[in-house]
Amino acid sequence: MQMKRQRSILESSVNPFDILSEEIVFIILDYLEGNPLDAKSFSLVCRSFYTIESCHRKILKPLRSEHLGKVLKRYSFVSNIDLSLCPRITDTSLNVISYHGKEMLSSINLSRSMDFTHLGLSNLVMNCRNLVEIDLSNATGLKDLAAAAIAEAKNLERLLLVRCKSITDIGVGCIAVGCKKLKVLSLKWCLGVGDLGVGIVAVKCKDLRCLDLSFLQITNKCLPQILELEHLEDLVLEGCFGLDDEILAEHKQFKSLEKLDVSSCQNVSHVGLFSLASAAPCLRQLIVSYVSCVDITLTDRLRKFSMLQSVKFDGCEVTCSVLKSIGNWCASLRELSLSKCVGVMDEGLSFLVNKHKDLRKLDLTCCRKITRVSLSHIMSSCTSLTSLKMESCTLVSADAFVLMGQQCPYLEELDLTDNEIDDEGLKSISRCSHLASLKLGICLNITDEGLIHVGKGCSKLRELDLYRSAGLTDSGVLAVSRGCPELEIVNMAYCELITDRSLMSLSKCSKLHTLEIRGCTLITSSGLAAIAEGCRQLAKLDVKKCPNIDDSGMLPYARLSQNLKQVNLSYTSVTDMGLLSLACISCLQSLTVLHVEGLTPTGIAAALLACGGLTKVKLHTSFKSLLPQRLFEHLEARGYSFQWRDKVFEVELDPKCWKLQFDDME
């Protein structure tokens, strides 16, 4: 009785929030988009906020398809639906969406969903007339009938059909005829599509801007039609083995093209590549990774392309003269990738970087032969560098890094995995105040001292990788977690000296969403519990080979975590109870439990049944025979996919010894 009266008083009294106009609340809501939980709390303030929040939401990314009807009823202005977290979307779900979505819906992502057919698609397309974007990637079961259904979406502008292997030329023909407004089309891995399908797309969809034809079995025949497309800006021909040097018989101007990707086209030599490129004088980005044709002839011919900004030669064999020839290009490159290029030496690279002073991004991953000479030229010449990747450049000596922070102050991304850098280098790098991503994996020369410098200087750090940097202890991590509150991704795998103290301090980084502490044997459940308390955003947790982690580490997650998606509990001391507690995390999708002694078949079965949204489960093969087949059938019908492993129990190696072994292997 009293409750009722109270409520009526509350309702009669003027709600202070009502003073705010809807527009102002909308603007406030715009600021809340960073964190989904904020929007939720906001909607629970009062009725009017609830309704306003319902009207404000445009994007929906549900975890389950079961409640779609209710949710769509509440959020009637949603225009984008992302179903990539729902493993099973049936025709019924699509019917619900099409019933509620109607004219509002403009974009739908079905890239991870199975089980729907052309009937559901047809219904969706018929009801949602304003659909502009459909992502049907990985729908390997869809056939031409589904394509014919999509063809009814007359306003469609973006269509992704990656790995739709059963769609043939006929289906693509239907789409080409029906969806005349298409601007972006990806047919990557659509193995059933050939020249005819691509040709008809080029004939019918004159507005195409981006066309991805990677790994299609097309030949030169369809290229003339593609070259007729007036607005095409981005053409991806990766791995089209059917293309060869006869690419262009007659030279045609292809003025709109800005990006060309011919990676892994093994049968195209520099002749064909050049003839294609020369048709596109406004080319800005050229990707010629993993081809055999990068030689001096090609690079000399590309000299005149003044618009070129970004070039990728990943995995090609480049010589000193090629690098020098790139150095003589008219264009001033912004981005250059020589990742895994064989033959990159100091002489050529130094010449190149001295000419291209405007370089923003440079990828030298696995250019193993460069030394401090190259690095000093890079640092002195390319002062506006924002991204430098030089994993496994082991010949660059430690003292080469000393001037890095001084000369390249704008660095945002730095990959020094497997390098000789030491604390002095880190001290210098700490001057890069914009640094957001720092990878120091397998840097055996660094200690806490260096990391303390990083913690002091790089306050914007979001990603830190300390994989197997065995010299680090708690004090380094402490400094970093204190100085870098923005940290989102931390990898401290196999830093064996790390204890719970590190995790306690990391728990202050509230944005942390990925944590990997494999092989940190000193870490216990209490540290993990601290993370659960502090980092509510945590989505990925990998505690493999932490034997001191048990059920008590899991319980806080069951209680607090609303974002945990991926957990690896292999080689831990978790038992059935811990696993079952995790099972009540509604958003959990991926679970790996190998070599967990405390788990019984019954416990695993119970946990699997209790989990609502698991899609990927990695288990030891022995459980396959211990659990009934019907259970797996049932779970697979719910969208689980099982991966069976029968690796033997691994004994961890000494970190230093591991490094030596790694070197021997090369």
Binding site: L37, K61, L63, L119, K143, G199, L580, C584, A610, E633
Partner: protein, 496 residues
Amino acid sequence: MDHEKRMHADKWTEPSSSRDTHIPTNNQSFSNFDPAQQKWEESSLLDYGMRIDSRNSFACDTDNQNQTSDPLGNNTGNATEPINIQEWDPRTMLNNLCFLEKKIHQLQDLIHSFVGRKGQSSGRPDELLVQQQQLVTVDLTSIIVQLISTAGSLLPSLNHNLSSVNPINQLGHFSSVANPSNGAPRNIFPKNTNLNKVEDHSNLIDTTGLCGTELSNMEDQENKSDDDAEEGENLPPGSYEILQLEKEEILAPHTHFCTICGKGFKRDANLRMHMRGHGDEYKTPAALAKPSKESTSEQILVKRYSCPYIGCKRNRDHKKFEPLKTILCVKNHYKRTHCDKTYTCSRCNAKKFSVLADLKTHEKHCGRDKWLCSCGTTFSRKDKLFGHIALFQGHTPAIPVEDSKGLSTPANEGQGNEATSKVEQINFDNQLNARTPVSFQNLVDVKGLAGEDLANFFSPFETNGISGFHEFPRPPFEDSESSFSFLLSDYTQKNG
């Protein structure tokens, strides 16, 4: 269509290619058209082909003979190589003529030298004379053979190009040229052993000449759609003679009848070939030549045909009259345009034709036209379909029926039981979810029910486990929405 009958017809046609056997007309099952006749038409084509081949082989024979009979054995081999009639090349002809010229000059020089030596040496004149005679004979033979073979191969090609000129005139002209050359060696060398061979060749020329004339006929036959395809022809009115066959004439199975036995033929040429069997008097070139043309004057009017159907564009009374080229065109045109389509395709039971050959052409492709356009047009080739679609606005590829059948039952990929059980369970789940917001216990219960066989397996869990779950308090706002992650797309992308 009676397949067995057709089989028979096929069998008959095979022996018919050996000249004089003719198909007995047997019209039991076909009202006004006999497939056997159609076959005959085709077989006659075959016949010509055979004959052309035999002519070629003859030519080869002459070649061999020349090489064996020619003791010098030099150039003659090249010069008499068989020349393909279809490819008439003025250059080869010129080559041949040059060669002849050279040979004649050589012979002249030779005889001149004999004349010169006669005065000088008188010893053993007989022996020398024999030697000289032999030499001259050899040279002359080579020249004659060359002349004949060249003429024989050139004549039909000339014919082919100048179809308005009566070929038999040429033939006659040639024979008048050839005869004196035949005669010449006979006069000079009465004991010429090669003479018979030469006569054989002249016979050969006759037959090849005939082939040539018939070949031009054959081309007309081959062009089945003649009545539509001759649009380009622009003969001025009056420059040709218009013939109009009556309807009965057009539809009559035969137009040429043997005066001796009464057998009917569709072609005069076939009749003439038939007549040879009735006696030697029909084997002369004159009898084998086209009889009608012999009597005509030099100025021959080109013949064109008119369709008897009044109001038809092909009828001569039509304002924009367009004549038909041959009788075959008339027949095909009349049947296609003005007759019922009596032949139905036995495979699709949809397409009908009035010309049997059209049906046969269709049957070759029927069922294989799997490429279908939304407009209903079928194509035997995928690229043709796509060309069609690229050309027309709004046309789109149609998906074959089998394909759609396969898809109408979802989740068909799994094997039998497994798939169906899956579907059932999914439906079950869906129904449940639609009705009630799923609470945790419900879920567990339902899942337990769904896997009935598991009941035993989970008995310890269900009794103890459920109460165990209550130990973990759930978050206060765990309503139905909380199971959705309200994540911004970019946020999850980073995660994902």
